[in-house]
């Protein structure tokens, strides 16, 4: 595991006066390197040309809960594309590019979200994500939202027939209009990223 990317919270403790629940703003010069499926290194914090915000959805090929969210992720990607929001799938740990390609195809992500690998957990540690599926919104070089997509899962094995709060969509709506997310940090329910690192 590489250690050259420090965990941002150790460098910049959260300024509680600004956004009480927000994760610390960080310098945009700090690079967090993730990989494309062909192995090219990409700075995870650098939005592609024309994009205002990036949504990373931490996922894995065999987590049933993150898989069940595929249609919702596709819908959200389409809905927020006009506001310059780009969705990306991020596969932490050892999953191979070939397995990820199969997964992207099986769940019809091709048009909705590009897949990236985080083999050294650089983005995991930068964002503090612990769960698949967990969404992280990067805007202006900082984490503007981290947590669940919605509240369909109350706990492992306890799910609602439909979600009652749409935390990621609400966060994106606010962020796209220049306001902070109403709840910048929420608790995701699903599979543990710590296991994927092994």
């Amino acid at each position: 595991m590489r250690d050259e990317v420090p965990h941002p919270s150790s460098l910049f403790p959260p300024p509680s006066s600004l956004f009480p629940d927000t994760i610390a703003p960080v310098l945009t010069t700090l690079a967090v390197l993730i990989q494309t499926l062909t192995g090219a290194a990409v700075d995870a914090l650098q939005p592609p040309t024309g994009a205002a915000a990036i949504v990373y959805v931490f996922t894995s090929t065999d987590c049933p809960i993150s898989n069940r969210y595929a249609p919702e992720i596709r819908r959200l990607s389409e809905r927020f594309a006009k506001q310059g929001v780009v969705f990306r799938l991020i596969y932490p740990g050892r999953e191979t590019a070939a397995a990820i390609r199969d997964h992207v195809r099986a769940f019809s992500y091709e048009e909705s979200a590009e897949a990236f690998r985080d083999p050294d957990l650089a983005l995991v540690r930068f964002t503090g994500a612990t769960i698949t599926p967990e969404a992280v919104v990067i805007a202006n070089g900082r984490v503007a939202y981290r947590g669940r997509i919605d509240d369909r899962y109350a706990d492992i094995g306890v799910d609602r027939s439909t979600a009652t709060t749409h935390d990621l969509a609400d966060a994106l709506t606010a962020i796209a209009s220049g306001r902070p997310a109403p709840h910048p940090v929420t608790q995701a329910v699903g599979c543990y990223i710590a296991d994927l690192a092994r």
Binding site: C63, F107, D155, I156, V158, R160, Y192, D195
Partner: protein, 642 residues
């Protein structure tokens, strides 16, 4: 649907006269106080928390290290591998050290929450077949193993758990039936319940010792309810839907065969029963499989198979299925603690073989008890955190003897508030009994064996009355939902007649008449209920209407004749029964009834003559003996009169 009651039925009912309404007070009074769980709950507090365990690690000597090989692999093999193997029902395999290591935190969290292995009843209930809860010590072991960094063990690579076979778990089947065309499950949305109807290709009669269900796509199939339908009702519902299977309700005619549970939840396979306890499968029977599926995020195809295992001889013992539960469930929106109770005092000695609790999403706690004649109570099962997804059948390793006089009872508590995350309605709304998953149910099924055939008949007869009394409540709710469904009304009315509530029967038959005034059968049915209720003039008018529509309606003449007899109009009765004999010349019953009418009119010559004519048709028993007694009595009366 418009069913006509049979003439024979009426003949018996009129003769038996009015029955009293059953009282339900005794049953409802069964459960008096809510049981307290203090002792059990207190026991849980002694379980060490993971913090305490982690703290303990520092002082633990090195030789005590928890390793995969020694401690974890046996647990995974014994409790998890039946689902967590490649292509198994679980989302990932746990057969190797690498598998276990890569899901370690998940395993620790799921076992600590007692979400896995799925075993909803309290660990000290039972023992049941296939019971696989982890003990507090075993959960602690997993915690320690994860905290230690998941050591493998002495071997390199560490010795894995047992391998898994993909063969049928019950052995080579005698017959496998498979859904002919796969069902296409959408990628997204709420859970899907689909009922598949599959003909079982057997010639003649077979004796079934067991079935094994294969979901076909274990990643999306969560559980299956299996029934058999000896009628064509389920098949007709399936054929009305263009896709494989149909959505809706399991037909009433699709039943558990001969008191045997059939069904499947992941990891549970019912063992084969001995041949003498098998169930009869006749040709032309359909398998009815209700499959509960969870969309996976991508389109899926589902094609279940069911294996049959046959015995070599006919059953000599038949279990009885007792159903405790209420169909009067009516939970206000927001109600956090709504309790349903029911109980039944056993009229004969039985052995309790197995149990299955059933409810939908709002149930929180399910409890079943047996209170013995000496007053002591044994808890049969307690589920503190009901999960609709895990509807196991709990089969005792050793059946529990319940002597005559034992009261079996159930107490279910529901939470219809927004605090219950599983509540399917947001905001909560009032919910009543019903079979759709959006409605609620509350049943505890008990499978019992009696000592002998006679006890079986006693129990079956007695219990049926209780079930029918409860079923009419459910029918009333369904009729309220579908007031124009005359089939529902007719079925409910027949049940009311069985319960000795002819006025309730007449209420529903009247609705059928209103909906279908041109149906002779509808008027006849209403007339029948009114006859039983002794509303004779009104009954007579209905029979007249039935005959105006269908002058060949023998049953209407028959019931008319009975009403004339009750009214004392014997000449009219003779004329009515003569019409029946004219329309049904080969019927010994018709001749017997006419003979009775002659006797009532004090024409014993003709009474004897007609009874003799009936006997010449060589009717089956018990009618033959009844006719002989009738004839002898008329002969005596004839002699006495001379």
């Amino acid at each position: 649907m418009n069913r006509a009651l049979t003439a024979a039925f009426l003949f018996v009912t009129i003769a038996a006269g009015l029955k009293t309404r059953p009282t339900y007070g005794a049953v409802a009074a069964g459960l008096k106080t809510r049981p307290t769980y203090v002792a059990v709950a207190a026991g849980l507090k002694t379980r060490p928390t993971s913090v305490a365990v982690a703290a303990g690690l520092k002082t633990r000597p090195a030789y005590d290290a928890v390793t995969y090989e020694r401690d974890i692999a046996p647990l995974l093999s014994d409790r998890c591998a039946m689902c967590h193997h490649p292509n198994g029902a679980a989302p990932f395999s746990l057969l190797t050290y690498d598998d276990a290591r890569r899901h370690a935190k998940q395993i620790a969290a799921a076992t600590r929450a007692r979400y896995m292995p799925p075993w909803k009843v309290e660990p000290d209930d039972g023992p049941f077949v296939g019971q696989r809860p982890l003990s507090a010590r075993e959960i602690e072991l997993i915690d320690r193993w994860v905290a230690d960094g998941m050591p493998g063990g002495a071997s390199q690579p560490p010795t894995a758990a047992a391998t898994w076979t993909d063969e049928w778990q019950l052995g080579k089947p005698d017959l496998v039936v498979t859904l002919p065309d796969p069902f296409a499950l959408q990628a997204d949305g709420a859970d899907v319940f689909r009922i598949f109807v599959i003909p079982i290709p057997v010639a003649g009669e077979r004796f079934v010792r067991g079935v094994e269900f294969r979901p076909g796509n274990p990643k999306v199939v969560h559980h299956a309810n299996i029934r058999v339908d000896r009628t064509r009702a389920s098949r007709a519902l399936d054929e009305a839907d263009r896709e494989p299977g149909y959505s809706g309700l399991i037909a009433r005619s699709a039943e558990y065969p001969d008191g045997h549970f059939l069904g499947w939840t992941p990891g549970q396979i019912a063992p084969l029963v001995p041949s003498d306890l098998s169930w009869r499968l006749s040709s032309g029977t359909d398998l009815v499989v209700e499959v509960h599926m969870q969309p996976s995020g991508k389109p899926e195809r589902v094609q279940p198979s069911i294996a049959f295992y046959f015995g070599d001889r006919a059953p000599t013992r038949t279990p009885v299925m007792l159903r405790l539960g209420r169909q009067t469930i009516d939970i206000p929106a927001g109600e956090r603690q709504y309790t349903v109770t029911d109980s039944y005092v056993l009229p004969v000695d039985v052995e309790l073989q197995a149990m299955q609790p059933h409810a939908h999403y709002r149930l929180r706690e399910a409890r079943g008890d047996a209170t013995f004649p000496d007053g002591h109570t044994k808890r049969l099962l307690l589920i503190r955190d009901w999960d609709f997804r895990w509807q196991h059948v709990y089969r005792y390793v050793t059946p529990v003897a319940l002597p005559k006089g034992t009261r079996v009872s159930m107490q279910y508590t529901y939470d219809n508030s927004a605090d219950n995350a599983r509540n399917p309605e947001r905001p909560p709304r009032r919910v009543r009994w019903g079979q759709r998953s959006s409605d609620e149910m509350g049943d505890l099924w008990l499978q019992v064996l009696t000592r002998n055939r006679q006890d079986l008949v006693t129990l079956d007869t007695q219990f049926r009355r209780k079930v029918v009394a409860e079923d009419v409540n459910g029918y009333e709710i369904e009729i309220e939902r579908h007031p124009g469904d005359t089939g529902l009304r007719d079925t409910a009315a027949v049940l009311y007649l069985e319960l000795g509530r002819p006025l309730d029967a007449a209420r529903h038959f009247q609705a059928t008449v209103d909906a279908r005034p041109d149906s002779a059968a509808a008027h006849y049915n209403l007339g029948t209920a009114l006859s039983v209720a002794r509303r004779l003039d009104e009954a007579m008018r209905q029979y007249q209407r039935a005959l105006a529509i269908d002058p060949q309606y023998a049953n209407a003449y028959n019931n008319m004749g009975n009403v004339f007899l009750v009214m004392g109009k014997t000449d009219e009765a003779v004329r009515a029964f003569s019409e029946v004999v004219r329309l049904q010349p080969g019927s010994a019953t018709a001749l017997g009834n006419l003979a009775a009418a002659y006797a009532a009119a004090k024409d014993f010559d003709r009474a004897v003559e007609t009874a003799d004519a009936a006997l010449k048709l060589k009717p089956a028993e018990p009618l033959a003996s009844t006719l002989k007694e009738q004839r002898d009595r008329y002969r005596q009366r004839r002699s006495a009169g001379r």
